[in-house]
Point group: C2
Chain length 236, copies 2
Amino acid sequence: MDSISLCVTCPNRLTGFCGALLGPDEQRDGEPSGWQRFFAVEAGAQIATRRQQSADVLVLCAGWAFRYFQLADGRRQILQFLLPGDVVSPATIFEGNYLFSAKALTEVVVSGFVRSEVRGRCATRQGVQAVLATCSIAETRDAAELATVLGRCSAEERIAYLLLRLIKRIAAGNVIRDESYPVPLRQQHIADAVGLTTVHVSRVFGLFRKRGILTMSDGILRVTDRRRLEQLGSLR
Amino acid sequence: MDSISLCVTCPNRLTGFCGALLGPDEQRDGEPSGWQRFFAVEAGAQIATRRQQSADVLVLCAGWAFRYFQLADGRRQILQFLLPGDVVSPATIFEGNYLFSAKALTEVVVSGFVRSEVRGRCATRQGVQAVLATCSIAETRDAAELATVLGRCSAEERIAYLLLRLIKRIAAGNVIRDESYPVPLRQQHIADAVGLTTVHVSRVFGLFRKRGILTMSDGILRVTDRRRLEQLGSLR
DNA sequence: CGGCAGTTTGATGTTACTCAATTTAAGTGG
DNA sequence: CCACTTAAATTGAGTAACATCAAACTGCCG
């Protein structure tokens, strides 16, 4: 993970965690502010490793990544896909080492905030705590929903759930036409996220294609029957 | 859920969340302090329901309960078993309504703290924030580990993991002799916690018994081969 | 053109589910 | 104390869902 001198603009810095953390005065392009650093990470590279000590709080600025938990024998569970604006590991705001590992899916730019500074602002700056609470609540809700889906839902339901969650998050930050979403995932990632094998993921995609629900190729997910997808993948 | 006038002593109030929240001056037996109420809940009764509005932050004082998420068709996933001292739903400290439902396993005593007061103390009282952070981190870690186990582990591993987690928590607050733990769970609860059917849970217990790993009857779990159990159920 | 990573497909195996019957345990009222 | 009731656990047989193994196919890049 190389530190880059070029100052990269975090496209989502005005919203979410970054937005609350940085005052409006600091949210202009310009040289790094001293307690904020930027890193470029190449596709597929490790961003963080469980139990590793971390100097700062990482926030994803550009590209896709994922948080995961790996068992001793190599099996792994992807816990969350990370999109620009997401905190790589919210727990690092309070704790020195990572609870989970994280890897880059695409080329990625990560911003690191010095932890002590972040915590200082948590105490003093108006609104940071609220954002922190919201973020922490969202994290536990997501993890618990994932557990529910993994424990109680079929392969089709799991994949439908995952894709629905993803496209909602993608749509939140982008203009979407034709129910067509950029999703830079291999079937291996989907398998690791929903607790299946790649072979079975492929079969389910085949089924979805045959039934006219969706297709996925070239990193583009095209949803052709949103209603049916939601019948399968909504938890309510 | 009846409010009880009798003042019940929360045995764990000196540790964890309650301990940090209440000052040492308030930690004596006596009449309720005005912003803290107590409720008695009978075995099997609902303590909280998802999306229900909550006036206060509930903490379990006595008995066992569990948090769960229920799907529209009745399938449910138990997310965590709650022991005395546990916050029923940590998110309620910040949010008005429950993210998850909760039910009593045994007769239970729950203590309710007025939310505004809790939040006030979060801002001012030394140490409350740290405990809150620790508690929130533990919650996400547990949920993520659960997701990993559900997504990637076999039935035997799942049950071993669940029991190991439970006995660690039980042992933390009690004197344990003979690797023998009080566990007031039906096989139905275990099934709902690890994403299996009761029939299959029964078979796995039969296997564990035959192999001399553990037995469970009359609400007592007896571990006869801790090492083998840990080989199955440890994540490291 | 060959090589490689990712996907698809088929055949077969295993794990866990379903359904149904039986046993065990725990009350409950006479 | 004992028949009766009921909930929980166990067992067996058959089935469905998903895994495993292996081969073929696709698109891409050097």
